[in-house]
């Protein structure tokens, strides 16, 4: 194992996961001296009556819920954050619980900045490192469609990015009741986002041992549980395992630069509006193939995470990357159509590819060449193998 020259790592959150995890939130908040959280969530959660489950979890405690706002739309906005901050202050709350997907977490982070920094002008925090004070306690409860970006130090409101280490959630509470799969597409797309993040984070040039530990756990959980989770949506164990994977992948993602596949998928989904996770799932095998064909390094540990020790020690070092790719392809095949095989199956117009490659090139800070991005995209579009 090589020794890294230099690395940094931070996981701000306390992770609690498993049976009755929601019931532990009051005592965790008590540890922050907080007695009145504001719950921010979306209709999808309250529609599944999970908001009531949460309210019940607070029974027999001294914690009053300052209000359950359940109307966060899929798109987070400054105006909503502002209104919520008024609700927060009006009720005299002292912490925030975000329960739901990406936009819920983003809005909650926005509110937290406003009320903690005592500054109504959220626009002035856009950029990196503008938040300077420690924020109010922030609890995040993932659901089955949380893809891990919620756990990072980024809030994306109205397409504007606010980045600061203070934005990490303080507590992440995963409860099987909340992470039970909602639909095949959601489960697959979130798992694919997590898998891509984990694989890319663990194969960046700068080896980071701590980040690797998270990434490998995530990969292993996804590999072992995705098929199960897709097959039977009510499977609480698989759902919980996938949520764990998403959280871990999110944390590694926050500690590693965005990889090639993430960047391309991000660009393409911003143009076409298709789900980013699905896009990553489609692009993942092609991205890896590209790396293999160009003899770029894919570390053997990936196979270790995917196949386990016994398989790993038997495989010669040279074949590890190809073998890992094969396993990932098998995984995708086992989903039986929940994920399209190539981009053209998603009915994306072909001319968008050029545009996406250009955006990806710029978004990556010119790290990934336009031609490379386009190459990967075109292969993925036609379903043509690199090897």
């Amino acid at each position: 194992m090589q020794t890294p020259e230099y690395f940094e790592f931070l996981n701000q959150a306390k992770i609690i996961s498993g049976k009755k995890a929601l019931e532990h939130i009051p005592i965790e908040l008590d540890g922050f001296n907080s007695r009145k959280p504001l719950v921010v969530t979306s209709k999808a959660v309250s529609g599944a009556k999970l908001d009531r489950v949460l309210a019940k979890a607070f029974y027999d405690s001294n914690t009053i819920i300052g209000g359950i706002f359940d109307e966060v739309p899929e798109h987070s906005s400054f105006s909503l954050a502002k209104e919520l901050s008024i609700l927060f202050k009006g009720r005299g709350c002292d912490s925030i619980i975000a329960f739901g997907g990406g936009s819920v977490a983003d809005v909650a982070k926005g509110v937290n900045i406003m009320v903690s920094e005592k500054n109504e002008d959220l626009l002035s925090f856009i950029g990196e490192g503008k938040v300077k004070t420690r924020l109010k306690p922030f609890v995040y409860i993932p659901v089955s469609y949380s893809d891990g970006t919620e756990m990072t130090n980024v809030a994306c409101i109205d397409h504007r990015i606010i980045k600061s280490d203070f934005l990490y959630p303080d507590i992440i509470a995963m409860d099987p009741r909340a992470t039970k799969g909602c639909c095949r597409e959601c489960v697959v797309s979130t798992a694919m986002t997590a898998l891509t993040h984990a694989i890319e984070a663990s194969s960046v040039a700068h080896y980071n041992p701590v980040s690797d530990t998270y990434a490998h756990s995530a990969i292993q959980f996804i590999y072992e549980n995705l098929a199960k989770g897709v097959k039977s949506l009510g499977n609480a164990r698989a759902g919980l395992a996938l949520a764990n994977a998403a959280v871990m992948a999110g944390i590694t993602f926050a500690n590693a630069p965005a990889g090639l596949i993430h960047t391309i998928a991000d660009a393409l989904s911003s143009i076409t509006g298709h789900n980013r996770g699905t896009m990553m799932g489609v692009l993942l095998p092609f991205g890896l193939e590209y790396k293999i064909s160009k003899k770029l390094e894919i570390r053997g540990e990936l196979l270790l995470a995917l196949a386990g020790l016994d398989e790993y020690v038997k495989t010669p070092e040279k074949e590890m990357a190809v073998r890992s790719l094969g396993l990932i392809k098998n995984l995708i095949k086992s989903l039986k159509g929940a994920l399209p095989e190539k981009l053209s199956d998603m009915k994306i117009p072909e001319y968008h590819l050029n545009e996406a490659a250009k955006i990806a090139f710029n978004a990556s800070g010119k790290k990934y060449k336009e031609q490379v991005c386009l190459d990967v995209l075109q292969h993925a579009y036609e379903g043509k193998s690199f090897i």
Binding site: P73, H75, S77, F78, L123, P349
Partner: protein
């Protein structure tokens, strides 16, 4: 004068790059499958244009298609269509207009023209029965729409022109003919991008006669009878113009107020059609020929101006919290002159006002204040300062500055002045309409909110009604006849006229197909058949007509899905999906997801909203 019997079927394909034109003929099959107007235009573009062209690039095309009825003297038939790929939404857009150009082109012997390519310098086209002349438009470039038409009136009997907005590629610039417009989707910018200032047709060279004159006269009389006895077409619209909708909308709670945060307002009566008729001494000023007579002119503080249509009044009036007809008519005139869509302009202004209030953007515009609006409209049209950015529309603005939750648009097209939270069926219609938040795709709000014939809050039956009306209107726009005739056609047949309203309501909600079959849509196919001389068979022809509508609608959807449209785009702004209104004690929102699935199913789309191969084959859009 020569006569054309039925339709001439002759078309022009004009290439601006090469400055050449070709004549071609519409096949009989196409005519039967797509009628004319919108349907034919879409078919032309479907055959000629690949997906993914830049709407403002050389490859985009614009087709002007005349209605089959035009020139025959059929009621309300003086309308023509244009179809192109919209620079505002990036998908197909089709608009209809009642200006003099249609009649002029048709009586020059042409049923349609397709314009493609790009001229190297500004030109205008002169069309007569022999063909096209490419004229230098240097002297016209920069002139407003009305002045340009004054010049062109001397050479032809009708023209389509663009104003400065089109020249400056304002994304919602429109095309003007007389004082009527090809309004939505930014067709003016497409003409502007082609350096095409105007098209003028000589006209009055041919006379158009129906094949079966006697039958035609009989149907026409019946049509006129219906129109004249209907309370909307012969009453409120004829007397007060479309602004008669203001009071109706206000009462039903679907009038947009303060960028769609409210549904009614205490001062709304000040801008109603009734008030305007009384105060501003309005007179008819309409398309020709017309039986309904909804367009008016009026005296606004000494200026003789076209009375704003309801959508203009709603979006530039109540939606900005301004209740002054004089100001609204002035802004309407500015938009007329620079040539841009009042709905999109109003919607964009409302977004800017709210964004200013929330500190996302810097401007001097405020809700309820008239200050700066005239100047801003002129700036948009001429592409100056902040106006240049506003010319990109609220979708692009909100992407850039944030505030997407209160950018009221669907697929990039700003919403017309009917708030779907008071008529959820219309909400579904907005979401799935082909060209964006279009109120003309169906006019379901009339049934839901005005006539009380369907419950505005019930989800049941709405997908079926939306599908039915979309099909009808797609066919009507291809036939081409004024959509307002639908009021008469729908509501006047005896069966529906004498059924008590509460019972109708029950019917529409629970036995939707039966309720819809009460409406007599036979008049339209009948008049069409009498012109081309085919035999009209009562039920069969009606079904055929409906299928044409379906074909046109699905073709447009299919072309849009090739551009990347899918379920993700069939949605409404967050404000309408999540935010209740104060005027509504229950704070209802539009439950779009639940209706969408059903709609796709009955439409023959897959789960992602893309037409299934089976559907396309059944309709003859792709070969079997």
């Amino acid at each position: 004068m020569q006569e054309i019997i039925g339709t001439s079927n002759r078309c022009l394909e004009i290439d601006l790059t090469k400055q050449k034109f070709e004549v071609f003929e519409i096949s009989k099959k196409d005519r039967n499958m797509f009628l004319g107007g919108k349907g034919m235009g879409l078919k032309f573009l479907y055959d000629r244009m690949r997906a993914g062209v830049d709407p403002l690039g050389e490859e985009n095309m614009i087709a002007f298609c005349m209605g089959a009825l035009m020139g025959t003297g059929a009621p309300c038939s003086g309308r023509f269509d244009a179809v192109t790929k919209s620079p505002q939404t990036g998908i197909m857009t089709a608009a209809s207009c009642g200006g003099p150009f249609g009649m002029a082109l048709k009586t020059s012997g042409w049923d349609a023209i397709i314009v493609k390519g790009r001229a190297s310098k500004p030109v205008y086209l002169y069309i007569d029965s022999k063909g096209v002349k490419f004229e230098n438009a240097k002297s016209l470039w920069g002139k407003d729409t009305q002045k340009t038409q004054e010049v062109l009136e001397k050479i032809g009997s009708g023209a389509v022109v663009i104003g400065p907005a089109g020249e400056n590629l304002v994304r919602y610039a429109n095309i003007c003919s007389g004082h009527r417009f090809l309004g939505r989707g930014g067709m003016g910018a497409v003409m502007g991008s082609k350096n095409l200032k105007a098209i003028v047709a000589k006209g009055k060279e041919f006379k158009i006669v129906p094949k079966k004159q006697k039958r035609f006269d009989r149907v026409k009389n019946k049509f006129n009878r219906y129109i004249n006895s209907n309370s909307i077409t012969s009453g409120s619209y004829r007397n007060f113009g479309t602004n008669a909708n203001v009071n109706l909308s206000n009462a039903a709670g679907i009038l947009p107020v303060r960028n769609f945060t409210g549904g009614s307002h205490g001062e709304a009566h000040k801008i109603s059609g009734e008030t305007m008729a009384e105060k501003h001494d309005t007179k008819y000023s309409t398309c020709r020929p017309c039986t309904i007579l909804c367009g008016h002119k009026g005296n606004f503080d000494g200026n003789y101006r076209q009375v704003p249509e309801y959508e203009t009044t709603g979006l530039m009036g109540s939606n900005l919290e301004i209740f002054d007809p004089v100001a609204i008519s002035e802004w309407n005139d500015i938009c007329t002159e620079v040539g841009m869509d009042t709905i999109s302009a109003g919607g964009t202004l409302a977004w800017v006002m709210e964004a200013t209030e929330k500190g996302l953007i810097n401007s001097n515009l405020k809700f309820g204040s008239k200050e700066g609006v005239s100047q801003m409209l002129k700036d948009i049209g001429h592409g100056r300062g902040l106006g240049k950015e506003l010319g990109l529309g609220s979708k692009a603005l909100s992407k850039k500055y944030g505030g997407e939750d209160f950018a009221i648009h669907v697929k990039g097209l700003e919403m017309a002045a009917y708030d779907p939270r008071g008529a959820i069926g219309h909400g579904l219609s907005y979401a799935v309409a082909n060209r964006g938040a279009c109120h003309l795709s169906t006019t379901l709000f009339t049934l839901e909110a005005y006539f009380n014939m369907a419950s505005p809050n019930a989800k049941r039956g709405k997908p079926t009604m939306v599908k039915f009306m979309e099909n009808i209107f797609a066919a009507v726009n291809s036939l081409h006849i004024c959509q307002f005739t639908a009021f008469a056609v729908f509501l006047e047949p005896p069966l529906i006229k004498f059924t008590p309203v509460p019972m109708l309501k029950l019917l529409t909600q629970n036995l939707t197909p039966i309720a819809l079959s009460l409406m007599d849509v036979s008049l339209w196919p009948e008049i069409w058949y009498s012109i081309v001389g085919k035999t009209y068979i009562p039920l069969l022809s009606m079904r055929k007509f409906m299928k044409i509508g379906e074909r046109v609608h699905v073709l447009e959807r299919y072309m849009n899905t090739r551009e990347g449209i899918s379920k993700k785009d069939d949605t409404l702004p967050d404000r309408l999906l999540y935010e209740g209104r104060k005027c509504d004690p229950k704070e209802k929102v539009v439950p779009i997801d639940r209706m969408l699935g059903k709609y796709y199913k009955i439409r023959g789309y897959d789960k992602n909203g893309i037409p299934k191969d089976r559907t396309l084959k059944r309709l003859g859009i792709v070969k079997k």
